[in-house]
Symmetry: C2
Subunit: 396 residues, 2 copies
């Protein structure tokens, strides 16, 4: 997969910028217990454990983030027979965290509050570990608006349910509003990767972040619904007219918190359905003769792994992607599995005067390699829950 | 443990009240895929699987809800050698669900959005399964305000960060406000159980529900903080003056959604610290000589089970409870382990004209037995994460 045409460059903020919380109290605490990660400054050597982290990739599902870590290990040449990728947060079941070289893969659960708790503690973790030049990328799932299912949206700006680029929070009982800008340069780099990966239709657009999956996103199929199909369509079409192309539940808090701490952040989500066409992911065709189909959680988790004996078919957007003219099923599968050849690239050897180990250089935005890593987002991402063969790979 | 003094009675709404979503569309859907539970009306026989559910007990942590299910199995005499309690939602890692007789034990993750998704789908599940006379109880953890750590709060009313009994949600881009009343009769019944269990200091009070754990609850130790200790103290003291005794992150959506669907709901939370004294759970003393201590997630998960080789001490509030005059450690442990004798009670045999199996009658609010079940909430609840011996019991 050619990547020589990319215009990727090292970002200016990758120049020894240490992670700093926007809270002076943290520096004076004798001990900082990161409860929801089951880590602490007094019981863990955080600089030794995490000091080399450069990329924090987050997503809702623990299983998916584990699969992503394993994918990145292969992609970075850090995988070897018998390698294990333990959950660093195994002491709690609130979140799961995996580390592969400079990449930290962390689950955040569903919604803004769950993501906020993780982010508060991960940002403090990066600070205590004296990490520098860290980039945060959310790899998520979403409902699309006016896009072919399976499309990828790189978020240009996160907006709320009123289409405003705002994150509203109650602090000491008062409404506090923060902006939700994402790192535009990083978004452009990710879009450049998409140019190199034409099999993943990708747009740069606004993403609507809501606090509910059903009524909050105008669905008609929740346990509560107080509006009509027309009301819903009017709302979704207004969102489309405002430049919104997908809806999810975490982007705004990620944008607000990372921006407040000076950490470049991006949000990259696949769309699992076109909300203008419906609320539930339509059935895949044909159903397997073995039994009822396995459902794809519209936020992305592929449940087949644990449903022993249940049939497994393509996710609908997978079918859609396979319909791209000229792209055979095999070619599509190969593409989504990231058939790249990192090992043969001279770029993995760092220049002698660089202190970072090779893997960091690989990920730090060097020309030719960065797009491949970014393709890893997409492929790890789709691989971890969309392809029926995920089970055969033993990833779940 | 005597329960004969209780005034428990069968509630009026326990008279063949079938669960109904507040959405007429659900009845007309040819298929309803409950994505985040990995269940569907077309692939699962929901009435056969769930038709006898009478109690839905929910809490944040999957591990805790599994431990609670196992506890209830013993408490109800449904446990037997080799019994397994599989996660019904094993096809997804979004939530975990366990069923023991008429009790469904479901995790909801952290925060309102995560809880909302689970509730939408569980309410639809109960409807599709044709369940009747269902009660929902959240068994949670919280920060206390002006209470001894380890106290239990039965929520009288859920309030927002402005101390108003409101749940605000964006629906089609517009703010919609719902009331957050809980079932007062159910709350009284739970308080009656507390009377029978003097070793668990329990209050009936307002609970503040926030959308953030750090700034949203006035903590000074998050990655972001824009106020002073005095600002925080002023806020928490104002909350106390308004009748609020604990803070958590899910009660208001539970109250609003269950009320809207006519389902009686209660919230019962332990307080893990007194927020007037600090933000982090203070260290337990003494530390074990074996190594660094295991931390207690302030929302309740005890991480010791998965941190092999790490020391395990009492949770701070456990130390506090042990200081109750006249209550030995052994007595406290025995009390929290629910030393009741359900098996010897004649009440488990249903009257001949009742269609429900015995276990339903046990749980359906019959005099003498209901308080014991409620004691199970408290004891399963504390047992599942607070007692060091939880590991020895093999519950985690």
């Amino acid at each position: 997969m050619a990547s020589s045409g990319s215009q990727t460059k090292t970002r200016g903020n990758h120049s020894g910028h240490f992670v700093q919380p926007a809270n002076p109290n943290v520096a004076t605490m004798p001990e900082d217990v990161l409860y929801h990660l089951s880590l602490s400054t007094s019981t863990h050597d955080l600089p030794a454990m995490f000091g080399d982290v450069k990329f924090v990739c987050v997503g809702g599902s623990p299983t998916r983030m584990e699969a992503f870590a394993k994918y990145m290990a292969k992609e970075l040449g850090l995988d070897h027979p018998g390698a294990e990728y333990p959950n660093i947060c195994a002491g709690t079941d609130r979140y799961a965290m995996f580390k592969v070289g400079p990449v930290l893969s962390v689950s955040h659960g569903i919604g803004i509050p769950s993501t906020s708790v993780m982010l508060h503690e991960v940002i403090k973790l990066l600070y205590h570990a004296r990490c520098s030049d860290v980039t945060v990328i959310r790899i998520g799932t979403s409902g699309g608006i006016g896009l072919e299912p399976g499309s990828v949206v790189v978020t240009q700006q996160a907006v709320d349910a009123s289409f405003s680029p705002m994150f509203e929070q109650m602090v000491l009982g008062k409404r506090v509003v923060q902006r939700t800008d994402l790192d535009q340069e990083l978004a452009k780099e990710l879009m450049q990767c998409a140019t190199d990966l034409p099999e993943f239709p990708t747009v740069l657009a606004k993403t609507m972040c809501t606090s509910d999956f059903y009524e909050g996103q105008g669905r008609l199929d929740g346990a509560l619904c107080s509006y009509t199909e027309k009301d819903k369509q009017d709302y979704l079409r207004a969102a489309h007219a405002a430049g919104i192309r997908n809806i999810e539940m975490e982007s705004s808090v990620l944008a607000a918190m990372c921006s407040a701490c000076g950490i470049p952040v991006a949000v990259v989500c696949v769309t699992l359905l076109n909300r203008l066409d419906g609320d539930q992911v339509p059935p895949a065709q044909p159903r397997t003769p073995r039994g009822p189909r396995a459902h794809t959680d519209p936020r992305g988790h592929h449940p087949a792994g644990a449903q022993v004996g249940r049939g497994c078919t393509q996710a609908p957007w997978e079918v859609s992607r396979m319909n791209v003219p000229g792209l055979s099923e095999e070619a599509a599968a190969a593409a989504s599995f990231g058939q790249t050849d990192l090992g043969s690239m001279g770029g993995v050897t760092p220049a002698p005067n660089r202190k970072e180990p090779p893997a960091i250089w690989v990920l730090a935005g060097r020309r030719r390699l960065h797009p491949k890593v970014c393709s890893g987002y997409f492929s790890g991402f789709s691989k971890s829950w969309c392809l029926p063969s995920v089970q055969a790979l033993g990833l779940q």
